[in-house]
């Protein structure tokens, strides 16, 4: 085990009493509670952490935050493996396992690093220019090789075993970021009485204050942070730590991920791993800080080269030094603080390189304080050392080159405000020449920006802008903030004059580290005409890596500007889009996966059917019994038996899933006349009628039966599939088209458990269930009668004499709470008559034998004429779809129309989805005359039969056509017949 050789003797916000064991590439190491994986690796002297995407260059740790492009690891193992996880954001926990990725056989020796040698060929967009011959080689040879080489980590090996949940939150003011600006904002808003949510990406509040040695009110800034945290806890402020607001959406909706249990080995029982917050905020203040820019120079990607601010974070927050001999390379004053902080911790600062032509006074002062040699108007031209920095060549203005040994190079090219969230609703950042950075432009409604995100880089400025933002946000929510004492702090010097890139540098100069985009790539792209940032990005992949260009985009724009003779602001950058940092798919799905992907609606008889061993099928949102197999039966046996039993004795089927709508009111009849193609106002009370509903474009929408229970009260049924759609349509008609009608609609789908009791003995069964006094004889209760009755000793019920099967049949409804008991009662009373339950498969066979159109035929592409329902189209009234149904193409006699199909060979089986061609014609598109919609084996007839749509079908009864099914290599000759195979006269349902 390596000791923590680079851990400083003291300091840092880590708990040195709590040692944490972890492993990296199989090696066991230790760190402390409060470390990140990155700080712990640095503490252990581990500089080489990963390999880059294209050239497999050795890479270390560049940053100390979520913008990290290089230090990506595979965290955890097996089903919990998380590829491409940024070491800089992983909180160290006991037992953590991490592995480097995109290398073989080892991190230190990676064969694919040979790619670097071919860099002149592998320039930007090289693949667009080759790999074209022979054409088939792309899929077979080139692409697989490219794919294997590309990609970074590996996906998990099994389904994600963790639990995720979602939560909604509402607040007056959402504060994003808990640095000085964010805390000041939250304090002011909460003090004013606003409901505040403070979201912080880190596991500690404080932001940049955690990494610096600032003072507020004359005391260490962290004292102020602690006090602020305590005060906020006493106010109406919900603090969400480990929570990244990653997206801004319309209406003041903000999406955030809370990493509830990513800092432990396994989430505790009952707890989610992560939680997706959907926050609705009246006001939001983005106080997300700023991201430091690297400088673009030769081999600027070597492990040991780090952003200057990140070095301070490791030194001050984690008590770790990333090196022992440090060089600072900067174009601004801020980075010199790194030299001071290092020097104060006993780290030797061997050079301070200031790229500015006009160095500031401040810089010189600091250099003197840090006792470091100061190189004014100089640049780092070259870095030596492959897997770690060994020395740098510093080019002075007089042309002299100083080679200085070092193991750490802290660089800073200035800071970019973290303004990503301000652009998610299409806001465009604007160039600020004073800051040499993009700052937020037009903001979404309700959003403001504070602190470094707004380009306020000094501490005092951050605090002031936070206070203002908090006050203004509270005011916007109607609160009246009082004045509070302002915290006192100094503004450190942030003077900067960006150099962007070192012109004289040698070696590859990286702009986008992760995707290996260099200055040469950008130059090549520009030479080839890709001069718009979007083109540049798409051609070179600049900014397309996991960090989405957080450290590289603006540098890329600067290089492009340089090449094309423009200034950076004129070039601009590509659009930032959600998410701000990568978000796990599991977290966005939450509860809705596996069996909970969608809720399942269970019919009232479900439990009973389970007890009978029913096999269930997903029917839209419902689970329905498909068939009820008996021991030793095949599914087909079971269905055959169920069908035969209905035809010869009696069966029962749960039809509760049909949509059921009560249509009430004095105009209910008129209303139905307008929504149905046929007429309902003339339907007598106590009768039901088949109804056909069209869409306004004239095609069939849905069908069902509607019963008139009273003068002003109808009971409509819809197909299971269309129940919701029909209700919505009816309410549109009621509220928007004909608000003058007195009609009330209410869905009662859930209220009624409804069973079809069908077969010659159906009446015998029902007779034993209905209460005395109800005459259900054929005379008193004929086909299509309906009525409100009582069953089983006073249970209110509705009885409808309807038949989908073509047999003597009833549908009986009771309040759903009695549904379970009623199916049991029906089975018990029906036992004497041979009753058996039948499922949706038998239901389908029965209806196909009778030629009733259903889902396969009501496919949204058929018209009433197509289905043989032309007679139903009333000519006496307007109704939805009437006019458009009369258009020439819809009424064309040559259209495909509804037919039955009977195989000539009685053993043959027609397949649903087969197409119909004339008997002797070739099976080609030209001869395609229709298709098979539904098929069934008819136990009643002893052979397969089918329904289909055939051009001019009804004129062709008796003709033989071919049902071709090239997909399954089958062809069946079939006779075209009317679409009703059993009891075409309908005698059996009227007995």
């Amino acid at each position: 085990m390596t000791s923590q050789s680079n851990r400083l003797r003291d300091g840092g916000l880590i708990d040195r009493a709590k040692t944490v064991r972890f492993s990296f590439d199989g090696e066991t190491l230790t760190g402390y509670q409060g470390d990140t994986l990155a700080s712990a690796l640095l503490a252990n002297g581990k500089k080489l952490v990963g390999r880059s995407f294209k050239y497999h260059r050795p890479r270390g740790i560049l940053t100390a935050g979520s913008e990290e492009p290089n230090a990506l690891v595979e965290l955890r193992t097996g089903a919990r493996r998380e590829p491409n996880t940024r070491a800089t954001t992983i909180e160290l926990y006991d037992g953590l396992e991490a592995a480097s990725q995109n290398r073989w056989p080892s991190l230190k020796f990676d064969v694919m690093a040979v790619n670097q040698l071919f860099a002149p060929i592998f320039g930007a967009g090289f693949y667009y220019k080759t790999f074209m011959w022979p054409a088939s080689f792309w899929e077979k040879v080139y692409e697989p090789a490219i794919r294997r080489a590309a990609g970074l980590g590996r996906a998990a090996s099994a389904p994600d075993p963790d639990h995720y949940d979602k939560a909604h939150a509402f607040c007056d003011v959402l504060v994003i970021g808990s640095g000085p600006a964010g805390l000041a904002t939250a304090l002011e808003a909460a003090r004013a009485g606003a409901r505040v949510i403070l979201a912080e990406e880190d596991f500690r509040l404080g932001g940049r204050l955690l990494a610096e040695r600032y003072e507020i009110d004359g005391k260490p800034a962290l004292d102020w942070v602690r006090a602020a945290e305590e005060e906020l806890a006493s106010l109406d402020c919900r603090i969400l730590r480990r929570t990244t607001v990653f997206g801004v959406y319309d209406g003041g909706t903000y999406a955030a991920i809370e990493r509830v249990n990513d800092h432990v080995k396994l989430p505790p029982a009952h707890e989610p791993r992560q939680r997706l917050w959907k926050i609705v905020a009246r006001q939001a203040v983005v106080a997300a800080g700023a991201i430091e820019r690297p400088i673009v120079f030769g081999d600027n990607d070597r492990p040991g080269i780090m952003l200057a601010g990140a070095v301070r974070t490791y030194v001050n927050r984690y008590g770790v030094t990333p090196g022992r001999r440090a060089v600072v390379f900067t174009d601004n004053d801020d980075a010199f603080q790194t030299a001071v902080d290092l020097a104060d911790h006993g780290v030797e600062v061997v050079a301070m390189v200031d790229a500015r032509a006009m160095p500031s006074v401040k810089a010189k002062e600091i250099a003197a304080k840090a006792k470091a040699p100061y190189f004014a108007n100089s640049v780092v031209q070259r870095v030596r050392g492959r897997q770690a920095v060994k020395s740098v060549d510093i080019a002075a203005p007089n042309g002299e080159v100083h080679r200085i040994d070092c193991d750490l190079l802290a660089m800073s090219g200035g800071w970019n405000p973290t303004l990503h969230l301000t652009t998610h609703l299409n806001g465009k950042p604007v160039w600020n020449a004073d800051l040499s950075a993009l700052v937020p432009g037009a903001l979404p409604p309700g959003m403001s920006v504070a602190g470094a995100s707004a380009g306020q880089f000094g501490l005092a400025a951050c605090l002031a802008s936070g206070r203002l933002a908090g006050t203004e946000a509270a005011k916007a929510c109607g609160f009246k903030p009082k004045r509070h004492k302002a915290p006192k702090a100094a503004d450190e010097s942030t003077e900067a004059s960006p150099v962007w890139q070192v012109e004289t540098s040698r070696g590859k100069a990286f702009v986008d580290f992760q995707n290996d985009v260099t200055i040469s790539d950008i130059k090549l792209a520009a030479r080839e005409g890709f001069r718009v940032p979007e083109h540049l990005k798409r051609y070179t992949t600049l900014g397309m890596a996991t960090d989405q260009g957080k450290t590289g985009n603006l540098n890329g724009a600067a290089v492009l500007a340089n090449v094309t003779g423009r200034y950076v602001g004129a070039v601009g950058t590509t659009t930032f889009r959600p998410p701000f940092t990568p978000v796990a798919i599991s977290a966005l799905a939450g509860h809705h996966r596996g069996p909970d992907f969608r809720p399942a609606r269970l019919a009232p008889s479900h439990k009973w059917a389970e007890e009978q061993g029913a096999v269930f099928v997903e029917t839209g949102p419902w689970l329905r019994a498909l068939y009820y197999p008996r021991a030793g039966e095949s599914p087909q046996d079971s269905v055959n038996r169920e069908v035969a039993n209905v035809r010869t004795q009696v069966g029962v089927c749960d039809v509760s899933t049909l949509g059921k709508i009560e249509v009430q009111g004095t105009d209910a009849g008129v209303f139905l006349d307008r929504v149905y193609a046929n007429t309902f106002s003339t339907l007598p009370v106590g009768k039901a009628r088949y109804g056909l509903m069209l869409r306004e474009d004239g095609f069939v929408m849905d069908d069902g039966t509607t019963a008139r229970l009273a003068e002003d009260r109808y009971f409509m049924t819809t197909t299971t599939a269309n129940a919701v759609k029909v209700m919505q349509h009816l309410e549109f008609c009621q509220q928007v088209l004909w608000p003058e009608l007195d009609v009330q609609l209410v869905s009662v789908t859930e209220q009624w458990a409804q069973y079809a009791v069908a077969g010659p003995r159906a009446r015998d069964v029902l007779q034993r269930l209905v209460d005395p006094g109800h005459d259900i004889s054929n005379e008193a209760f004929p086909y299509l009668a309906c009525g409100e009755i009582n069953v089983c000793g006073g249970v209110p019920a509705r009885l409808y004499r309807l038949s989908f099967s073509g047999e003597l049949a009833y549908e009986i409804g009771v309040p759903a709470r009695y549904g379970d008991a009623l199916i049991r009662a029906i089975m018990m009373e029906g036992a004497a008559f041979g009753i058996q339950p039948y499922g949706t498969e038998a239901l389908g066979v029965l209806r196909i034998e009778k030629g009733h159109p259903a889902g396969g035929e009501l496919n949204g592409q058929t018209t009433a004429h197509d289905l043989g329902f032309g007679k139903l189209l009333s000519a006496k009234k307007d109704f939805i779809g009437r006019f458009m149904a009369a258009r020439p193409v819809l009424a064309d006699a040559n259209r495909e129309k509804f037919v039955g199909l009977r195989p000539l060979d009685r053993e043959a089986r027609i397949r649903a989805g087969a197409h119909l061609v004339p008997k002797d014609a070739e099976a080609t598109a030209k001869n395609d005359q229709g298709y098979v919609t539904s098929i069934a084996y008819s136990p009643s007839l002893g052979h397969w039969l089918a329904l289909g749509m055939l051009a001019r079908g009804p004129e062709r009864h008796g003709e033989v056509v071919r049902a071709v099914d090239p997909l399954r290599g089958e062809e069946v000759l079939a006779e075209v017949v009317p679409p009703c195979f059993v009891d075409p006269e309908g005698e059996r349902l009227r007995v």
Binding site: H270, H591, P599, A816
Partner: protein, 202 residues
């Protein structure tokens, strides 16, 4: 003739009394099914709103609400569910009785439909009740926004729900489609587990 039919809850077999989920500190929420309630929808007839309100005032001493709140009448709660529409809930007029009662009193003024068999009503109460509901309900239940007689029709985890606040403990009652009882229960159990929950007999 058959034996009388037994009423079976949509949650049958699921609501087993006991304590579940995390055991940390105080109990998060208490969950109980409410059975035997009369539930009916009431929709005003065209042009009869005022007459209907007068009739409700007379019959039940209640001002039918014109927004989504609960109004307590004599033995019946009227919950505003939409313009001219209410959900009526009653213990006294149990099950199908309520619709009969209302249809009788409001004849010609409102359309009444029995829903007592088709809804499962669950009471969720306790200190973490809002936190549990927040995992599914896209509505702010904070007392500053949501009145103590507040009600809402919305969705939880892709399932329709009618919710009203029952008291300030706080306790909320939720009516869901009976067919979705099982799926709703799976969501509720998963969401409440983090806080610890107790299932009480209905």
């Amino acid at each position: 003739m058959s034996r009388p039919l037994a009423s079976v809850s949509g949650l049958a077999g699921l609501t087993v009394p006991g304590s579940y989920g995390a055991k940390v500190g105080e109990l998060g929420v208490t969950i109980a099914e409410r059975t035997g309630l009369g539930i009916a929808t009431v929709a005003a007839c065209k042009g009869k709103s005022e007459a209907l309100k007068a009739a409700a005032r007379k019959a039940y001493g209640v001002e039918l609400p014109e927004r989504s709140i609960v109004a307590s009448g004599r033995d019946i709660l009227f919950i505003g569910t939409g313009p001219g529409q209410w959900l009526a809930v009653s213990e006294k007029y149990a099950n199908e009785e309520l619709a009969r009662e209302l249809a009788g009193r409001l004849q010609g003024l409102a359309s009444v439909a029995d829903q007592s068999g088709g809804r499962t009503v669950i009471r969720i109460s306790g200190p973490r009740a809002r936190d549990v509901l927040a995992k599914g309900l896209p509505i702010d239940l904070d007392p500053r926004v949501f009145p103590s007689n507040g009600a809402a029709t919305s969705t939880i985890s892709l399932m329709g729900v009618q919710l009203w606040q029952a008291d300030d403990t706080p306790a909320y009652e939720l009516a869901i489609f009976r067919s979705l009882s099982g799926s709703f229960w799976r969501w509720l159990a998963a969401s409440a587990a983090e806080f610890g929950y107790e299932v009480k007999p209905g």
